[in-house]
């Protein structure tokens, strides 16, 4: 089994910064999705609710994957 060389702190720092940007973008996207869905739902349009929930779940899965990678980076 090939063991991945441990990265030094400066390399990890770069990765964490990049992840922070990705996660922030996804969270902003989710915020927009939530407000748009709430607006449509309160206006009586329920057709967007299911796709929006699935989209938000996909965003969460992406964020969780990035966080898992972060834990993997530290271990």
């Amino acid at each position: 089994m090939i063991r991945r060389p441990r990265m030094v702190r400066s390399q990890r720092m770069t990765i964490v910064n990049a992840m922070l940007v990705f996660v922030a973008l996804i969270v902003i996207l989710q915020l927009w999705l939530l407000t748009a869905t709430m607006n449509a739902y309160l206006g009586g349009d329920t057709g967007t609710v299911v796709p929006a929930a699935l989209g938000s779940l996909a965003c969460l899965a992406l964020n969780a994957g990035l966080l898992w990678y972060l834990f993997d980076l530290d271990s």
Binding site: R9, S10, L20, V23, I26, M38, Y41, A52, S56, L60
Partner: protein, 190 residues
């Protein structure tokens, strides 16, 4: 600090980036910094890592909000249909005439407009932009909101000009026996 405890001496040997912010050797640093030598790079790394965790938690909260909306839309009990209520007589309104009423009792004002010999339409009177009362412009086939010059189609209630984006909620009508009955309200405003 967490990393220091977990990683022990090995991590410190690999990560020898700890230097004071001004780059001078520790011997030249003020006494308070020598007494409390913060691991600056480690501190920045941990704070960003903690921020990522917090943002993922925020992401989970947004997803929970989306599923709450989904739950509400699936399990929301439909409002009980209000019984038909006589709101006007046919002879009461001339063609092009209008009248305000409430339906169901205690609702926001509704607007009944007679558009022909036997045709009536009724909508919520509040503009879907900023809730100003709309007034009928029957000769133009529209409803007008004078506050911000919004226009709605008289036959469908859909916005045709100005700032409003959503149609006016429509009151369902039934004309029988010389009277006009309100029988329901279309909740959908999209």
């Amino acid at each position: 600090m967490i990393q220091k405890q977990r990683g022990g001496g090995d991590a410190r040997a690999l990560d020898s980036a700890t230097t004071p912010p001004d780059g001078r050797p520790m011997a030249e640093q003020p006494k308070w910094r020598r007494d409390f030598p913060i691991d600056w790079a480690q501190d920045e790394y941990v704070s960003r890592r903690e921020l990522v965790k917090f943002m993922v938690l925020t992401s989970a909260a947004f997803t929970a909000g989306q599923f709450w909306i989904l739950f509400e839309s699936v399990f929301r009990r439909p409002a009980a249909a209000a019984p038909g209520v006589a709101i006007a007589t046919v002879d009461e309104l001339p063609i092009g005439g209008a009248k305000t009423f409430t339906y169901p009792e205690g609702s926001t004002p509704r607007l009944l407009v007679r558009t022909g010999a036997a045709s009536f339409v009724a909508y919520d009177q509040q503009c879907t932009h900023l809730l100003c009362p709309v007034v009928p412009a029957v000769e133009l086939g529209r409803l007008h909101c004078p506050c911000h010059n919004g226009w709605f189609d008289l036959e469908t209630g859909r916005p045709v000009a100005g700032p409003p984006q959503r149609p006016l909620p429509r009151v369902l009508l039934d004309v029988r026996g010389g009277s006009v009955f309100a029988t329901g309200v279309e909740e959908s405003t999209t």
